[in-house]
């Protein structure tokens, strides 16, 4: 079942830190399975762009921010717990083929 709206997300990572890499891997997997193409993901490396992180109010990494649809939500951690990620994103836990 396709999702009506596009989920816009931003993932803040800290270079090649272990949890950041895991987060990227986990998130891509989640997107592939539950969002198919209905998402926009920006990955921000805070080591490269600390200013950006500060401005966005992000300190902890990895950190996932759902920008749209409202409400904004945040998840910190390497996103290993899929269920809580989906809940935060407001995405039903239904796999898409």
């Amino acid at each position: 079942m396709p999702i009506a709206t596009v989920v816009v997300m931003r993932l803040y990572v800290a270079g090649a830190a272990p949890n950041s890499i895991k987060a990227i891997t986990n998130l891509r997997a989640i997107c592939r399975r539950y969002l198919k193409d209905c998402y926009k993901l920006e990955i921000v490396d805070v080591c490269e762009h600390p200013r950006r992180a500060l401005d966005d109010g992000v300190l902890v990494t990895p950190s996932l921010a759902k920008v749209s649809p409202a409400p904004i939500s945040n998840v910190i951690g390497n996103l290993s717990d899929t269920r809580s990620v989906l809940a935060a994103l407001g995405v039903p836990a239904i796999e898409i083929e």
Partner: protein, 604 residues
């Protein structure tokens, strides 16, 4: 534990003095830490909620920025920046201005709606902070409430890992760091135990209720490579921030003075062997109304008269009232107050806790620089807090005053009827150099004030109980009057004195009488002697005349005989041969009196 990329901390062989320290600006703390916080090292501040950790950290940061132009970053994990500014507004640190220049405040609170999924690290945060640090050229960083963040990890090994990361990062960036963490009784002691190992200096803040008053304390539990004053110290919030009530120098650097200072009036000075020594403390105890304030006031007045700056601290009554009361007993302080020689401070003891009074008085000492001081009464500070803290404050106050070489008179209500109780309550009597006790003696239907010196270090003192008399010209001590082994006062004394006088008069009269009698007797005897002497003279002169007559007779009879012989002719022997047995005329010497023998010559 060696990890790739981490630095090995070199073994510190330097002596404690060489550890570089940065002053926090909290004078008491800088004193007990012997200089402040360790430069380029981490200080861990632990304590319960509201114990003062954040203010302490902030104050140190602000001080570094204001005094040494050192830039710093304050990362707040628990409070909002607005709340921090509001809390510190009363201290007048100029935070808003500093926030634009030397200080950066980072709100690192996580939104309450944030969800956690999996493990995370602090790497990102540290990268962001590093960028900021470069931008500001900051040398200080405060991580306030980092336990909030670390607790999210919910995994002891993960927490430990992050703490290591933090430590390495701080070290690599040459930052002087203060990390604050909440430590309730049961909050994961294991991890904070580990964190304590990581930190070079660990300070524990404590806040608890003692007898209904909130009492704050601080304790340095560890300071690697440095000497520090162990144990708990009281904290207080003053006008310009927090401070620690420190005990003052461990050694007294000044020598004991041998100069004497008047206690206020001559009678008491005499009892003290000349007065009190300069720089000493004198405690006056006594029940209410025994004139302790009067004595203290007299001391202050005499100090002012000598031209010495004086500080009068009154805890019971306002300055004006004290002056008015003293005027009624002949002690006039108004002129000196106006001249600026005397400074009066009256503190409401109920409103502040003992430590706050101490801080207030300390600042007065700095401003006014008195040579003499009165604290009336010190016992009042025990009203507003725990007795133990009042006691500690009392002792610290005296030491502080002594350090400044100030001669101080302290009054205390404690030990009113029984001075012994002072030793168990405020315990100032054990520290004070001189201890004067005022009491009432009730005898013969009267209440008279008695003064006695219980102790006076380093000098001889009278140990008599004397009567203190107040008049419009001031207090005076009457000479000790003792009778029958007891000291008497008031009317009893007056009566006894009158009795004595009467008795003396009586004795004198008797003496005069006796003397007269003896004089008469003497005259009598002298007259008798004169009479006898006259008789004697008469006897002698008679005797002398008699002897003369006899001589004359003998001479004339001798002449007659020779005449006869001649007439009878030269032939023949004298027909009148000398009569045998005729004695020669014996001369009676006028001086022989009864001593000489004399035989009446054979008369013819």
């Amino acid at each position: 534990m060696q990890r790739k990329g981490s630095r090995v901390t070199p073994k510190r062989s330097a002596t404690p003095r060489l550890l570089s320290k940065l002053a926090t600006g909290l004078q008491g703390f800088d004193q007990i830490s012997r200089g402040g916080l360790p430069r380029n090292r981490t200080t861990l501040v632990l304590g319960g909620a509201g114990a003062g950790k954040s203010i302490f950290a902030l104050q140190a940061l602000v001080n570094a920025a204001r005094e040494r132009k050192e830039a710093g970053i304050f990362v707040a994990f628990e409070e909002s920046t607005g709340a921090i500014f509001a809390n510190a507004a009363t201290f007048g640190w100029g935070l808003p201005a500093l926030a634009k220049s030397a200080l950066f405040f980072l709100d690192a609170r996580l939104s309450p709606t944030v969800v956690q999924s999996g493990d995370f690290e602090l790497s990102g945060m540290l990268a962001i902070l590093e960028a900021k640090k470069q931008e500001l050229a900051a040398s200080w960083i405060v991580l306030d409430g980092i336990d909030v963040l670390l607790s999210l990890l919910q995994n002891p090994s993960a927490e430990m890992r992050e703490i290591y990361r933090l430590r390495d990062w701080l070290h690599h960036n040459h930052l002087t760091a203060i990390i604050t963490a909440k430590l309730d009784g049961d909050t994961r002691p294991a991890n904070y135990g580990f964190m304590q190992f990581m930190a070079d200096c660990v300070i524990r803040f404590d806040r608890r209720l003692e007898q209904g008053i909130s009492v704050r304390r601080l304790e340095i539990t560890k300071y690697r490579g440095s000497d520090f004053a162990p144990g708990e110290f009281s904290l207080s919030f003053g006008r310009h921030g927090m401070d620690v009530v420190a005990p003052g120098r461990a050694e007294t650097l000044h020598e004991a003075s041998t100069q004497r200072v008047s206690s206020g009036f001559e009678g008491l000075d005499l009892m003290l062997g000349g007065g009190v020594f300069r720089g000493t403390s004198t405690l006056i105890t006594g029940a209410p109304g025994t004139s302790k304030t009067t004595l203290a006031g007299k001391f202050a007045e005499s100090a002012c008269r000598r031209g010495e700056r004086t500080l009068f601290v009154s805890f019971d009554e306002g300055g004006e009232r004290v002056r008015r009361n003293l005027t009624s007993v002949g002690i006039h302080l108004d002129a000196y107050l106006e001249a600026g020689l005397l400074c009066m401070y009256s503190g409401r003891t109920e409103a502040m806790n003992p430590e706050e009074h101490l801080i207030r008085i300390a600042s007065l000492l700095r401003e006014h620089r008195p040579r003499c001081m009165v604290i009336d009464p010190l016992s009042a500070i025990a009203r507003s807090g725990a007795l133990s803290s009042a006691r500690a404050v009392g002792s610290r106050l005296i030491h502080q005053v002594r350090d400044h070489d100030i001669t101080v008179f302290i009054t205390s209500l404690v030990g009113g009827d029984d001075p012994e109780t002072e030793g168990t309550e405020m315990q100032v009597s054990t520290i004070a150099d001189t201890w004067i006790h005022l009491s009432y003696l009730v005898r013969g239907g009267e209440r008279n004030r008695a003064l006695t010196i219980i102790k006076s270090r380093g000098t001889e003192h009278s140990n008599q109980v004397r009567e203190l008399v107040l008049s419009a010209t001031g207090p005076a001590l009457t000479a000790a009057y003792s009778s029958g082994g007891e000291v008497l006062m008031g009317t009893l004394r007056w009566e006894k004195e009158a009795e004595e006088r009467a008795r003396q008069n009586q004795r004198h009269a008797e003496f005069m009488q006796k003397r007269r009698e003896l004089q008469f007797a003497e005259a009598d005897v002298a007259a008798q002697i004169a009479t006898l002497q006259l008789q004697l003279d008469r006897q002698r002169s008679e005797l002398a005349r008699y002897s003369r007559d006899e001589e004359t007779r003998q001479v004339s009879s001798g002449e007659r005989e020779s005449e006869l012989r001649r007439m009878r002719g030269t032939h023949g022997a004298a027909t009148a041969p000398p009569v045998p047995g005729k004695r020669r005329a014996v001369r009676v010497s006028a001086s022989s009196g009864s001593n000489g023998d004399h035989e009446p010559p054979r008369g013819q």
